[in-house]
């Protein structure tokens, strides 16, 4: 029973990991740029959720979309103001640009909100359900299933719609896409917007059951790295499978090895994976 419980917790949490990681993988797949500020986008979304509830008395049904919209705007802004100018420049500039953004966001948050941990009241979206001995919190269920649906939706958007085809065209060959009449900049800005919006939703959902602090983004960044690497860089379905797998691995290692070392297990897995199979388990070489 305890194993089933751990698996269920891991699956639900893993779906949320999958959602924000698919944002990272989308940005990477579109323009070969790693967003080192990805974890801090999640942090920002968590604060948006927290302050919309405490200051504006907004319900989750309102503040989750709100976080998505705000982060979408931030993503587009970051692309047009920063990434567009560095993405074909030297490697150092590419890496430093989003890393600088990460520092800026993290320490502005520290300065503005202080280092204190804050959290939304528990039971904001309902209590804990008992399903035949399996105890599941409503917040976990809502977060897990919405994340799952949205990740699938993102995948369908990319593979089944005209817009998705245009984005994929730009990711395959910027110049060729331009020749057949697709303007690359709006598509890549859209990728940043969608990638950031994914962190917006995920962050607001995580805030339902997880504490918020300015430094919380770092562990989400590392989780997104592991997930994207495991699923293959640029693959949304890969991120979904990998995110769920990571969630379960984390859940079991926290139980067997203690919460202090659960991050170590995931990080060690990531490093080994990068060394042995950098293209990811499901990625193409």
């Amino acid at each position: 029973m305890i194993l089933l419980q751990l698996a269920a917790d891991g699956l639900l949490l893993g779906a949320v990991y999958a959602l924000f990681s698919s944002g990272l993988t989308l940005i990477w797949g579109m323009m070969n740029v790693v967003n080192f500020a990805h974890g801090d986008f999640v942090m920002l979304a968590m604060y948006i959720a927290f302050f919309s509830f405490t200051l504006l008395k907004l319900e989750p049904i309102v503040f989750v979309p709100l976080a998505a919209v705000l982060l979408f705007a931030l993503g587009g802004l970051v692309y047009y103001a920063l990434v567009r100018h560095v993405m074909r420049g030297p490697m150092l500039a590419q890496i430093l640009s989003t890393f600088g953004l990460a520092l800026f966001l993290r320490y502005t948050a520290l300065w503005a909100f202080s280092a204190n941990f804050v959290s939304l009241p528990s039971g904001l979206v309902g209590g804990v359900y008992d399903l035949g001995g399996l105890r599941l919190a409503a917040s976990h269920l809502i977060a897990g299933f919405s994340a799952l649906l949205l990740t699938l939706g993102l995948h369908l958007l990319l593979t089944r719609t005209d817009l998705g085809s245009r984005m994929l065209a730009v990711s395959e060959d910027r110049v060729a896409a331009e020749l057949v009449g697709v303007r690359p900049d709006p598509m890549q800005a859209l990728a940043w917007g969608l990638g950031a919006a994914a962190t917006g939703v995920a962050g607001a959902l995580i805030a339902l059951f997880f504490y918020v602090s300015p430094e919380v983004g770092n562990s989400f960044l590392l989780l997104a790295f592991v997930t994207v690497c495991l699923g293959g860089f640029g693959s949304v379905p890969g991120a979904l499978l990998a995110g769920v797998a990571i969630g379960v691995i984390e859940s079991f290692s926290a139980y067997w090895l203690g919460p202090a070392t659960k991050d170590a297990v995931v990080l060690a897995l990531f490093i080994l994976l990068l060394w042995v199979r950098p293209q990811g388990l499901f990625g193409r070489a």
């Binding site: 100018h85 500039a93 890496i95 890393f99 520092l103 590392l222 202090a260 170590a264 990068l274 060394w275």
Partner: protein, 320 residues
């Protein structure tokens, strides 16, 4: 002008470095001067692999932490003077470069940077949960000097002198490297690894050499830090911000240039200390760092060195 300027500039800079701490009797400023040199040592060490060879590592905090812990563990476990831990730190840094660095060199560009972030985070967790090295509490150095060998001074000036010597050795070494075959190899790797490989540069071997040098000097910087401060914990030894400082300072002055990291440190350390003194919050300096890095990446990826060259060029064109 072209031939004269660098030599005169170099002489003036060297003179300023020798004279700097004597220009003020204020112990706070003297301490800032010493910390500037210490930061310049680690940033210059990072520069060998991160600047010249173009491998952007965010994991150098691990080398710094190894050096710092080697010093204070030599005191806490064996009763030796902390500086006696220096060779142990260097040996451990070599081992780390070979065991962890070598496999990471299969990765290029962003992948390499991601791996280094993860390695540093993993090292931090391991040290925090390892009771033998003090766990989350850290390790203390000697409270008062038992002999001269403990290198405990009330004034910052002796530290300044030590740091200046080490920095001079490192910069001399880097200068020789720049001119050698290895320097050319590293710059070739830094500008395009695949092309370098196709031209017959033994890429992985030379990246490893660069990492061995870079890691050893970073560990020396860690040892010197521990000797001066007399305390280290997982955050001050292995924290991500240790790496960030090195990267930002080197990038600001000019990654892959000889004096770039020193110039970057000379700007950022006083800036950091000033913001701390004014607002008391540690965060503000890093907000500024973030903005500086973004501006650099956007407008002048070569740092101030590139900016300087650009200005001089424009000035010459106008003069002509």
């Amino acid at each position: 002008m072209k031939a004269l300027f660098p030599r005169a500039g170099f002489a003036a800079g060297a003179l300023l470095l020798f004279a700097a701490p004597f220009l003020t009797a204020n112990p706070f400023y003297q301490r800032v001067a010493a910390l500037t040199l210490l930061a310049a040592i680690s940033a210059s060490a990072w520069n060998v692999i991160g600047g010249y060879a173009g491998q952007v590592s965010f994991g150098h905090s691990v080398y710094f932490g190894i050096g710092a812990y080697a010093a204070l563990l030599a005191y806490a476990k064996l009763g030796w003077p902390p500086i006696a831990g220096l060779p142990f730190g260097i040996v451990a840094s070599f081992a780390l470069s070979i065991v962890v660095g070598l496999p990471s060199f299969r990765l290029r560009g962003h992948y390499f940077s991601m791996a280094t972030i993860a390695i540093a985070a993993l090292a931090g967790i391991l040290v925090t949960n390892w009771d033998f090295v003090g766990g989350a509490i850290g390790v203390m150095g000697p409270a008062r000097a038992r002999s001269f060998a403990d290198l405990l001074f009330r004034s910052s000036l002796p530290y300044y002198a030590i740091f200046l010597c080490v920095l001079a050795i490192l910069l001399l070494f880097t200068r020789l490297l720049q001119k050698s075959r290895m320097g050319f190899y590293l710059r070739a790797i830094g500008s395009d690894e695949r092309v370098a490989q196709s031209l017959g540069v033994p890429v992985r071997r030379y990246k490893l050499y660069a990492l061995l040098i870079s890691g050893a000097f970073t560990s020396i910087a860690g040892t010197l830090y521990a000797v001066m401060v007399g305390f280290v914990d997982p955050n001050s030894g292995f924290g991500i911000l240790i790496s960030v400082n090195m990267v930002v300072m080197a990038a600001l002055g000019g990654a892959g240039t000889l004096f770039g990291p020193l110039i970057g440190a000379a700007i950022l350390v006083p800036l950091g200390e000033a913001t701390n003194a004014l607002w008391g919050a540690r965060g503000i300096a890093y907000v500024a760092y973030g903005v500086i890095i973004m501006l650099l990446a956007r407008f002048s990826p070569g740092g101030l060195a590139e900016l300087g060259r650009f200005i001089v060029k424009g000035w010459r064109r106008r003069a002509a």
